[in-house]
Symmetry: D2
Subunit: 339 residues, 4 copies
Amino acid sequence: MIVVMSPKSSEEQLNHVVELVEEMGLTSHVIHGTDRNVVAAVGDKRQVDKGAIENCPGVEKIVPILAPYKVASKEVKQEPTEIRLEPSGAVIGGKALGIIAGPCSIEDRNQTIDIAHAVKAAGAVALRGGAFKPRTSPYSFQGLAEKGLEYMAEAREETGLSVVTEVLTVPHVKMVSMYADVVQIGARNMQNYMLLKAVGEQPKPVLLKRGMSATMEEFLLAAEYIIDAGNPNVILCERGIRTFEDYCRNTLALTIVPAIKKVSHLPILVDPTHGTGHAYLVEPMSLAAIASGADGLVIEVHPDPEHAHSDPAQQIKPEQFKELMEKVKRVATAVDRTI
Amino acid sequence: MIVVMSPKSSEEQLNHVVELVEEMGLTSHVIHGTDRNVVAAVGDKRQVDKGAIENCPGVEKIVPILAPYKVASKEVKQEPTEIRLEPSGAVIGGKALGIIAGPCSIEDRNQTIDIAHAVKAAGAVALRGGAFKPRTSPYSFQGLAEKGLEYMAEAREETGLSVVTEVLTVPHVKMVSMYADVVQIGARNMQNYMLLKAVGEQPKPVLLKRGMSATMEEFLLAAEYIIDAGNPNVILCERGIRTFEDYCRNTLALTIVPAIKKVSHLPILVDPTHGTGHAYLVEPMSLAAIASGADGLVIEVHPDPEHAHSDPAQQIKPEQFKELMEKVKRVATAVDRTI
Amino acid sequence: MIVVMSPKSSEEQLNHVVELVEEMGLTSHVIHGTDRNVVAAVGDKRQVDKGAIENCPGVEKIVPILAPYKVASKEVKQEPTEIRLEPSGAVIGGKALGIIAGPCSIEDRNQTIDIAHAVKAAGAVALRGGAFKPRTSPYSFQGLAEKGLEYMAEAREETGLSVVTEVLTVPHVKMVSMYADVVQIGARNMQNYMLLKAVGEQPKPVLLKRGMSATMEEFLLAAEYIIDAGNPNVILCERGIRTFEDYCRNTLALTIVPAIKKVSHLPILVDPTHGTGHAYLVEPMSLAAIASGADGLVIEVHPDPEHAHSDPAQQIKPEQFKELMEKVKRVATAVDRTI
Amino acid sequence: MIVVMSPKSSEEQLNHVVELVEEMGLTSHVIHGTDRNVVAAVGDKRQVDKGAIENCPGVEKIVPILAPYKVASKEVKQEPTEIRLEPSGAVIGGKALGIIAGPCSIEDRNQTIDIAHAVKAAGAVALRGGAFKPRTSPYSFQGLAEKGLEYMAEAREETGLSVVTEVLTVPHVKMVSMYADVVQIGARNMQNYMLLKAVGEQPKPVLLKRGMSATMEEFLLAAEYIIDAGNPNVILCERGIRTFEDYCRNTLALTIVPAIKKVSHLPILVDPTHGTGHAYLVEPMSLAAIASGADGLVIEVHPDPEHAHSDPAQQIKPEQFKELMEKVKRVATAVDRTI
């Protein structure tokens, strides 16, 4: 941490900062510059709240040096984390891409099983589907709850696909964890810390979606909560951020893929469905995601999007998914990945 | 809802849209324009998912006409909602401003009681304080939990102030609701729908903070969740949004105050502490908030910000709060409000 | 400037950075931390491009210490800059607020003179109006050009108001400067550096509007261009930034007012017309701007907004402006300012 | 255009809107809804300012139906525009990708010629380089001006590459147009309408970079200015937008590539250099751009980035560019494009 003193700050104010730094258990180095002085505080105290010093008289600003996340970073673990999904045996984070596909909401038993067969045939390794739906409006379809989980489990039986589904609240964690092979934390819950801890305490891998306005640092700190609670199997997922752009529902921030690869060992997928919000954009952005280095995709597929109970505008049909997968395979090969 | 057909769409595609509209229980009016046709779908079906039609062949876009919120809107209730806080008797949403102040985190018993006396003397009607802290980093102070609630209750006994505190997760709602006079939903939980429902089912007024990237519509839909679950006493609170600005922690979007007043009957407060993130900005933005028409303020006050366990950079001292309140009173008078 | 080395960087890489720092004419201090080393580069070399070092092997990131602007900063000049407008004699940046009002576009002679009388009667010190209009669409009204400037000059003759008008391109600077008392640089041209230099070389004060996505630093650097070219009379103006908010045309970022006051000696006005984009929001945000510490306002007033040639949705009528000014006066008094 | 009346609006207010619509030369259709009435205004009047009606009493909002751009849209021209560059003969917008590469600033003669040879050998069709540099700080290197143009012309002689360079201001258009094969409009000038007109009146193709906070509609309207002034050869270029993200200099919004392809016939390139701001991100985002459907790339290449006069952090070396091109070719093949 670097403390930048304001140009007119006094010697006394400088000394006060030095004291506060040492009170925190850090070592201080004072550097006298031409325009202003700075105090470099040395020591690994990620939990020290730098704001404490920012409020001192004579301080202009605080510049953190260490990233605040640790166990999610490459400093702690150099080699990429590979996460094996049961029962499919697929590995997320290795050379092979992991494609997860399925309807936005689980709506009925037959639909679920049919879609599972279709996405498996096209190359998906896991079935996604919402049993509990976080809907912006209280008047929208809220999901089938446990019934939906049962249908997914049945689809797993039939196809061997792994099952990925979202948990919305702490009291549901146990139940969802029982049915699912991967527990998903949605974008709106990325900073629901109680929920992060709860999924950190259950054994299934966690698919953590990036919050709509989360910085990379906040994203990795959310992963850190889960790992810190005991679960090292966190799969990150970029799904679009909120900006001023209006031709799409969210701005898919693909650059986070190589940026995450530089600082963290965790695998990262991309969700081009929520990341764009329009069916016609899913295919080109799937290809772009793979080319950028993503470890896989999360795609919504529905047999009859016009009659879907949720997110109809952005789901694609099984036949479109099949075509998309053909193209994904070609791009994957071009960047030395497999499916 | 208006369905805009693309210029090259066929008669058959138009007919398909009309069918789908009527299948939804709406009446359709086709308007033949010079460049393209549009279908106006009439009827109050807020729960209809417009995306269903967006996915139809030949459709260019869908334009919603009705706002998706209803009970939070002025269409349903013209007169402003006034919410009485116990035991202080203060009313939020009337002519008098409601000022809520206190430390970021409840740290110990004496601090809590001292601050309560100080903010009451300066004119606050309620004491705020965090017992459960939503922290970005798992290594930061997480709050005193129930002990913190007890200290706040004691401070209420001593001062007569109402107590405002945040609830983070469904399993805590009952306990927090027992101690608090106003239950707060933090910005990170604004779209935690299970939590919104849970606080909608308990009897205390709810202070709903705007999410960091929430549109006005999403903000009012979150309020709608709470009202829909049975609790009409929702106090909105603007607390800054995430933008590219970097001289502040968040961009305080004060224009939402008069914008909300135009479409909704709910009261709205402003939190200049989180809304700016720096102590020196709290006073000017408090005055600006009142001038813009806010029904009150939520301000963090700490006896020794340098040693605060959380958010030290943005808390002000009791003597600064006292001065601020003197100025707030003058601006309040200038806009025909009282304290 | 602080150079943060990556944890696995070598001694050789550290030495290379030290060499590069010294090659730039700066002094280097190496600090060996627990996790990584940092190099503090000391010396006032604002023009040194820190990116040069960021690209070196073993470097994790560069943290600038000095703000890149200088003559616009309080480090160079502590007392606030007061700028006198001719012929009105109004001073921008002192205790008295400066209110600038008038139509979006100058449309005809009589309209211009009538509006000038009306805004003067209500307390404005200057007339604003567009002769050259920067329009998003090539099919929109583009302004009366020199004819418009003549009408404004005539209105000045009649009323004694100062005249504020925008210049769009370098070849027009001379002409606009001849007619205007204050030359305006619009938001879309805030980083049109050739234009900034050109208005820096003419003698009239410059009203510099903040770009739609400009940081505070970029805003002050744009002012610095003008001052550096020879013109110290720069009046800043916040006019809203682009965010995801959709209930308004721009998000009025009022917090920049006290933030600028902290680091710069330049006066700052607020434009609640473009800053919100809707007539009904102009009054509350004018009051908020004054309460936040702004040195004045820029407001669009039109006798018949429904038939205005540009920006009809956001202009207010003369009688609304008069009422607004009554309220502005009350808030001004409450914050110890005058009109 | 759809005019949505507010629920409590009167019959008289509705009639006033109808009159105003017809006064504009449009036909009106009134639709009586369950909650509110709407007026559909039919007719191709893109230049009608919808704000005029928004300001009428009883009006809640205006919803535009037609996109405001016309000649840039597919409605006017279905087949993709292909733009031939001289003297290289490369075509932008066809099956073959167009790769443009070169240093940020032209710094000296030999560097320019060497880089030109290097990028040509790797497969580029044009040399980019800045002779006039738009720098955020007045203290930064501002370019070699005409001398820089001469060096680029010489490099063209030697290599046969086309030359792409930026023009900053109207008085330079003639000179730049004389030397360059493609005239570039930078992001900061995307809404400098006088400059857009000026490059629309010269004969060379124009490379139009997207403004940092431009919507897709504004981007296409800027192209429309150029086309409308007489020059149909506009090449669009996505180069990152400003958001809250801080691990990159800009957020590369790749989704605009397929979105533009849907509504416009103009070719679109991607600039991963400015679009990310860090050398290590250029390669993965180049591949992603091609996979998303871009017609080519604009990449900064410098022989010695550590000593570059501008943007050192984001330029790559010739050998890195060569490697990148090998990978680009593989991805291009995978999406049925050639180089």
